[in-house]
Symmetry: D2
Subunit: 241 residues, 4 copies
């Protein structure tokens, strides 16, 4: 079981292996301390940290990732608009590094993620293991060619040409089930939404983007951060009818 | 089991009672059709709708609400930043109409929600029943006076003076557990964050606001909607250490 | 000379005619008071207002307008990115109600505005007169067919197919001069920018949208307004080379 | 007279001195070419650039600046909300590097800018000279102690404690004149607005922040830029009554 070290100011370390001393810029923690306690421990130089069993999100923030992963702000909208839950059966494509599939697996009953690139599949496998998830399956298949799973509640797409997955999704989804497409550019959104509109098996719900503004709150220094993420992706929601 | 009627253009009706005909501006649906089928049915005037078992989110969008409820965009960030999941034990205050507590119950193992106003408690009870949730408890207690539950993973606050709940939350949360405060105004955020910073049992993580931009996507009419929600609330995250 | 009545709480009236009493929901102002004084005057019911000569912007906010006029936030970016000033020669099309042409005339040396719809031309003429501007000319011509003015510093377009004005603008602009196109939808922006990119006489500078967030600041009620304008238009800047 | 070199892709050089060859990463331009022509010239390696007389904004983008200057998006709102124009008399404090004072001087009749730090005054003087502005005066005085100019149309403040300038501004402004305060943090805005509200000589108009979203528009790559400025400052508008 991985642990987290966190100090009062938010400095955080993930302890994957408690059988070894852990060295940091604040000094080192003895393995006896790492293993034995939940509570407060100190480095050899006297710096105090809290130590506790890692939460899922502590691990998720440390997964291996290729260039671009979907940010938490966008995962949040997918979860809140679809109401995905313990009983949900989910299909995801393409996996990328598995950030979305793994997050959803933490909530849903089961997740199957489709990916055609073998290098990404290796990353996802490692991430599933790292996160200790038992309900994610990964398939080295092209979702454009079909989805094996039936009666699915939610299909999520992070693909260059998501409209090519409409037919597969339609056959896989339950009536009322959600198809969510995540794309960085507007022409992708246009093509996806227009094709979904022309398909009698889908009702278009909406397309949104999420802008997260982080604030600095410290004494009288209260203001949005100077630096921000300008854009990640547009999220389109359609439902099977 | 409630059902949903949805047509191609996104027009949606919730069918709570399938033992009666359902009248709409599109004509009426016969009770036999409402009861018998998942699939496509027609009104007496020939308008086609899909009918399917309501998803949680279909019901959640129809819960009774007092003036102001937390929007889905904000619920999304709370879920994604905390990683709340099937094993999570959650405490919430104040309930308001229960929108947040009920949403979290759909994901978490159990949720207890504190509310001091009896009129709100009635609303929440009805909403829990309407949503058919079995894992939400509601308490008519002031969270400032303490939290009965221990080893809690997540405490969510939607209170006028959230800093007054810091001590209660501290005693209730597991190490590493999240305390999330949702407030509409900046002075509330300042007071909450400053008091959390001064409390040795909490590490301040961040404060964010979520701006959702909805887009119109229809042929060449591709643009953000003219009307938008300018603001709902600021979301502050701290963790117990 | 029009005057403005403004009270402490921001309630504002424009007095176009000081030869008549002015009736308001706060009571009426006597014509003698309206004519005689700059300073403070009172209604017959004792409500105090400041009275002063109208500023340009007081009048501009009251011009007649068709459905949609460019908001001040967007005019601001056009002014600040082009540095338009007392010496600038400006051409504008289509006039619409003349909000942009008139605003620019308040800053620039001269403005000529092109409009094909005669109903709009009437509105613009009235607005020019109302604003007492001497340096705006209005032409009932299609800018796609050419611009009479030469050595122009700035051309502004608010047109359904702005790319059709590229050739006219190119012949009219001085080297280094700005062409600014204002469009509500992304496909318009795409077509305009792509055609400008293919024209050897233009260098593409940038496309932006401006989001204005208004705040409520009152005691501890300090927060962005709940209601907001979600979108007006995208502003694209190119320069003649 | 400074000139600008600009190529098709937007690469831009300012030529301050046309009596010397100009060396760039694209090769060098001969002084004869720099001096003689407006039009197209080539480097010794055959790269084509347009050359033209610098516009004000070309120079303004190159002024010397201390750490933080007000961005054009924010200057834009100040201009558009106040309607500052050829006849306007403006007072500005503190100058900083003079970016706002100089921009306003390009539009207004005259600008006086107050600054207490002598190192900044040197920067401003150089910038005024560089921009060839004749209508900006700079004063080494604290605006909290009073403003010499009377019948002023617009006072702009970029100060740590702008509320301390309310009394000075009140005595200096014409009735109806604008006082605009630019501050990075919310507590500054709160104190300024609350004090202005308590002063019978001012009417509070509004506080806004401006978010500029830049877009990439290139073929099908059409999307907001990934990187963005998260925040610069809040702009508060009050008027003398």
């Amino acid at each position: 079981m991985a642990k987290v070290l966190m100090n009062k100011l938010g400095k955080r370390f993930l302890v994957k292996d408690t059988s070894k001393d852990m060295h940091t810029q604040f000094g080192y923690f003895k393995k006896e301390d790492l293993k034995a306690k939940n509570g407060r421990i100190k480095t050899n130089t006297g710096k105090e940290f809290a130590i506790f069993d890692a939460y899922f999100i502590d691990l998720h923030k440390k997964i291996k990732r290729d260039a671009q992963i979907i940010p938490l702000k966008d995962i949040g909208l997918i979860v809140s608009e679809t109401g995905v839950n313990k009983k949900s059966k989910v299909v995801d494509a393409g996996s990328g590094s598995g950030a979305l599939a793994c997050f959803l697996a933490n909530i849903a009953k089961e997740v199957t993620t489709y990916e055609i690139r073998e290098d990404f599949i290796e990353i996802v496998k490692n991430n599933i293991k790292f996160l200790n998830l038992k309900n994610v399956k990964i398939k080295n298949k092209n979702i454009y060619d079909g989805i094996d799973e039936k009666n699915v509640d939610l299909v999520t797409l992070d693909l260059p040409e998501p409209w090519k997955a409409l037919e597969s999704a339609e056959k896989s989804l339950k009536a009322g089930g959600f198809l969510v497409s995540y794309s960085p550019t507007i022409p992708q959104v246009m093509d996806f939404v227009n094709e979904a509109r022309e398909n009698r098996h889908f009702t278009y719900i909406k397309t949104s983007e999420i802008i997260e503004r982080e604030w600095e709150i410290e004494g009288r220094k209260v203001r949005p951060r100077s630096q921000a993420i300008g854009h990640s992706g547009f999220i389109s929601f359609v439902r099977k009818i």
